[in-house]
Symmetry: C2
Subunit: 202 residues, 2 copies
């Protein structure tokens, strides 16, 4: 796609995401989306195919920006620990970066995309989890062998970060760098020295 | 409320939650909910007041079961570390306990409840965060003073656990006790020995 067409596609995804976020996918009409992006309803259908395909495009766009904010930024870092830290910082930055908030939220409302489109989005999500899991494994290897499941650790990290949109207020007292530092301290601290839990620890 | 009335209220909440979960709040009709709970539409309105009040009731029920699954079970435990462990285990149990999955998911879709009802739910959510925050502080005190923000740690824990509904499959290979153990190891490990992140750690 040319730069202009790509910018246009992203603009439509962002605006549609905002409307779906506010009114829910079922509650919003294609008429409203068309108006918000300056197209006729027929023009919008011509452009995106269907309401479900539009939702898929938004999700796909959500994964594109996750790849850009995280994967492409850390691709050249060799040290696993540093790569994991930058992954955490990049992902947090994406979530608290309000311009794309609606897109990242909609990414997780995947009940309404079905069939092959759903499989495509799930494959991209899986690739991201595998990125996290690979980093966790590499860090554990450097620190003397695995202690806890890299996959469960990857999901724990993903939850810590993705849950931000439920509570984090960028205009509040906690700044993004404090957030990134604290989450990194907890997660990496837990990876390096998992708490013993079979006996009482007090 | 009598035991029977309370059971009936919970049953309605659970069935309505399932419908709202499947079709979204905006996409589901009160007619469908009425049919599912064996009432006429007029009967349902008489019983719950409005669609928005029904959603509020579901959320309130979600907080009731969280209180029962977690707060009331740990109320008598004195040791902060043990109390935190049991809080984690109880909360995970609630999330992976599929009977109430829809209710706990809907609890976080709070865009559609407004005004005083929203304030009530948010106050109950805040009380839960304060419970977690208090436990984190108490554990830090026992371990030699706070190292990281108890509030941010509380939200990190909440995210790890609440995100489970996005990916965890109770019929898959990971059993609930492994999940609880791993999350506890990561979180408590991170609390006790937060990773240093100002200098390179490799």
């Amino acid at each position: 796609m040319t730069g202009d067409a790509e910018r246009r596609r992203r603009e439509i995804c962002r605006r549609a995401a905002r409307i779906f976020y506010e009114k829910s996918f079922e509650g919003a009409s294609m008429q409203e989306v068309a108006k918000a992006v300056g197209l006729t309803k027929a023009g919008l259908y011509h452009y995106v195919g269907s309401k479900e395909k539009l939702l898929f495009e938004i999700m796909n766009y959500g994964m594109d920006i996750l790849d850009e904010a995280v994967l492409s930024r850390v691709a050249k870092i060799e040290d696993p620990m540093e790569k994991l830290k930058q992954t955490i910082a990049g992902h947090i930055h994406l979530i608290v970066h309000t311009r794309d908030l609606e897109t990242t939220v909609i990414l997780h409302e995947n009940r309404t995309v079905r069939g092959p489109l759903r499989k495509k989005i799930n494959a991209r999500k899986r690739a991201y989890i595998e990125h996290l899991e690979g980093l966790v494994s590499a860090v554990q290897k450097e620190e003397g062998g695995p202690k806890i499941s890299p996959r469960l650790a990857a999901y724990a990290l993903l939850g810590m970060i993705n849950w931000l949109y439920q509570w984090y207020d960028p205009s509040g007292p906690v700044k993004e760098d404090e957030l990134a530092r604290t989450f990194t301290q907890i997660f990496l601290g837990g990876l390096r020295n998992p708490a013993p839990i079979t006996q009482s620890t007090s």
